[in-house]
């Protein structure tokens, strides 16, 4: 049954992006949960990795995700000031924004790395956000810059 349902919703000929999303347990994950409880649909391309706090996200997780074939990485936490752990998202904000600049400097497309604040009450925002970024990454296409280096062919 489940297999059948999958086939119905996914056109196998259409390229499906892979999105890795790191969601903080208290706001964004709860927000995504609320979207589910509220029966708000959003694309299945997103794969959620639950973390306790956006401050838990080491920027190397983003690189790791690209290495595993992610076409887009999202880190989502509580709105500034609302962190369950008081300040985790403030630290995340500093680290992740600096990391995005570093990516950009290397020429790795910053549109492939999104940061968002989604609260536990923002099920609708979550649903819309996923729709938007899925549309965007579909328009961007597969992350070829990175997939080229995934094969790990010989060095110098």
């Amino acid at each position: 049954m489940i297999q059948k349902a999958k086939n119905e919703t996914t056109d196998p000929s259409e390229w499906q992006p892979r999105i890795v999303a790191f969601l903080c347990n208290w706001c964004s994950y709860a927000g995504a949960d609320l979207a589910g409880m509220s029966r708000l649909a959003y694309p299945a391309a997103i794969k959620i990795v639950r973390v306790p706090c956006s401050g838990r996200v080491d920027p190397m997780f983003v690189i790791k995700s690209f290495e595993q074939g992610a076409d887009l990485v999202l880190v989502s936490g509580c709105h500034p000031g609302d962190c369950h752990y008081t300040s985790g998202n403030y630290h995340a904000r500093r680290k992740l924004l600096a990391f995005r600049e570093l990516m950009t400097f290397f020429g790795i497309d910053p549109r492939r790395f999104k940061i968002s604040w989604v609260s536990a009450a923002e099920g609708a925002k979550w649903s819309n956000l996923v729709k938007e970024i899925t549309d965007e990454v579909k328009a961007l296409g597969p992350f070829e810059t990175y997939s080229e280096i995934l094969t790990g062919e010989t060095g110098p």
């Binding site: 790990g152 010989t154 060095g155 110098p156």
Partner: protein
């Protein structure tokens, strides 16, 4: 270390423009041609070329050692993939392609280093990938014309005109012509392919005299001291300055330490062989956390001992060709030459020589 008798060899002269013809002929024969190319300002590396225009002849030596063509910086040993039923499919192919490779313009020191590597990789067991790469490759060395202050090939039995392991040694001439010395059957085959532009040299033709390279130390004397000084404060002193950065080892044409790693996710992966370096603490660290070479002193000692004691004992030659890369690379002004000259002066002065004053 010249293993072949020059008299038995045949000398050929190549007319001006021979290099262009050589590249074209080899290309036509489906051969992969590698030659010195200026990859960035002031840096020359061996690279695959399609035409002779990309080739530069204005270089002292290539930056990376020749060993990388046979013992790559990283190479796949095998690949594995999980199958739907839970089995794992292991694939040790592909091995090395059989395409013939001709390297134009290797330096004699780098080529000579292959003698040491060959011994290691054919020693207790035949390394198939290394051997296959060696077998398919013809090495056309260009005699060294510009040894610099850091070179010391003569100290370790080499010479700017060393023919060891070269298939052909080419003496470039100012006018674009060249004198070619065939050293092997592969070399003879190369000359045969170039028969339109290469003619046997007139009888009595002699290769030019090699440029002078100063002898800086005597490996035999060094070994005599090393034999007696496994435990010595000298190593502590050497290690004090050494940052263990590994640049010397990675650039060394004879260093051949490697690491085997598995790079995998849940679905598939590769087992790889990567260059490694005995200066790094991780090199000998056990899974338990125990490290038999726990400090930089023991690691520095290992590097010197390996090159000038263990390797000669096992294979009858030192594991150094005097290319000088380690001397140029060291950012704290310490290197094989300074260590070996220190050892030699200690050997002369006995153990009581003031270590600190000689080293620092």
């Amino acid at each position: 270390m010249r293993s072949t008798n020059v008299d038995e060899q045949t000398l050929y002269t190549a007319q001006a423009g021979w290099l262009k013809s050589a590249v074209d002929i080899l290309q036509g024969a489906g051969v992969d041609v590698m030659a010195p190319v200026e990859t960035e300002p002031g840096v020359v590396e061996l690279a695959t070329v399609k035409s002779s225009e990309a080739v530069t002849l204005d270089y002292q030596n290539v930056r990376l050692p020749l060993k990388r063509l046979f013992f790559p910086i990283t190479e796949v040993v095998l690949e594995f993939k999980s199958q739907p039923e839970g089995d794992v499919d292991v694939q040790s192919e592909p091995l090395v392609s059989e395409t013939e490779v001709v390297v134009l313009g290797a330096r004699p020191c780098g080529v000579a280093a292959l003698e040491a590597l060959d011994k290691v990789f054919h020693w207790d067991y035949d390394d198939v990938r290394y051997s296959a790469r060696r077998a398919r490759t013809t090495l056309i060395s260009f005699a060294c014309t510009r040894p610099d202050a850091q070179c010391f090939c003569t100290s370790v039995g080499g010479s700017p005109h060393n023919t060891t392991q070269s298939d052909v040694l080419v003496y470039l001439e100012e006018n674009g012509q060249a004198l070619m010395q065939v050293c092997s059957d592969k070399g003879a085959k190369f000359i045969e392919q170039l028969r339109d532009v290469v003619k046997p040299a007139p009888a009595g033709t002699q290769p030019p005299a090699p440029p002078e390279v100063k002898e800086k130390f005597d490996p035999a004397k060094a070994k005599a001291w090393l034999d007696e000084h496994f435990e010595s404060d000298f190593w502590t002193e050497v290690a004090l300055k050494c940052l263990g950065c590994g640049a010397c080892s990675y650039l060394c044409p004879t260093c051949h330490c490697f690491d085997i790693v598995d790079e995998a996710n849940w679905q598939a992966g590769q087992r790889r062989r990567n260059w490694d370096c005995c200066s790094h603490p991780m090199f000998t660290r056990h899974a338990s956390g125990h490290n038999p070479r726990p400090d930089q002193a023991s690691r520095c000692r290992q590097r010197i001992m390996h090159k000038f004691k263990y390797f000669p004992e096992r294979f009858g030659q030192v594991a150094c060709v005097g290319c000088g890369r380690c001397v140029r690379a060291c950012c704290v002004g310490q290197n094989l030459v300074s260590i070996l000259t220190d050892i030699e002066s200690k050997a002369k002065g006995g153990d009581k020589a003031d270590v600190a004053s000689t080293l620092n």
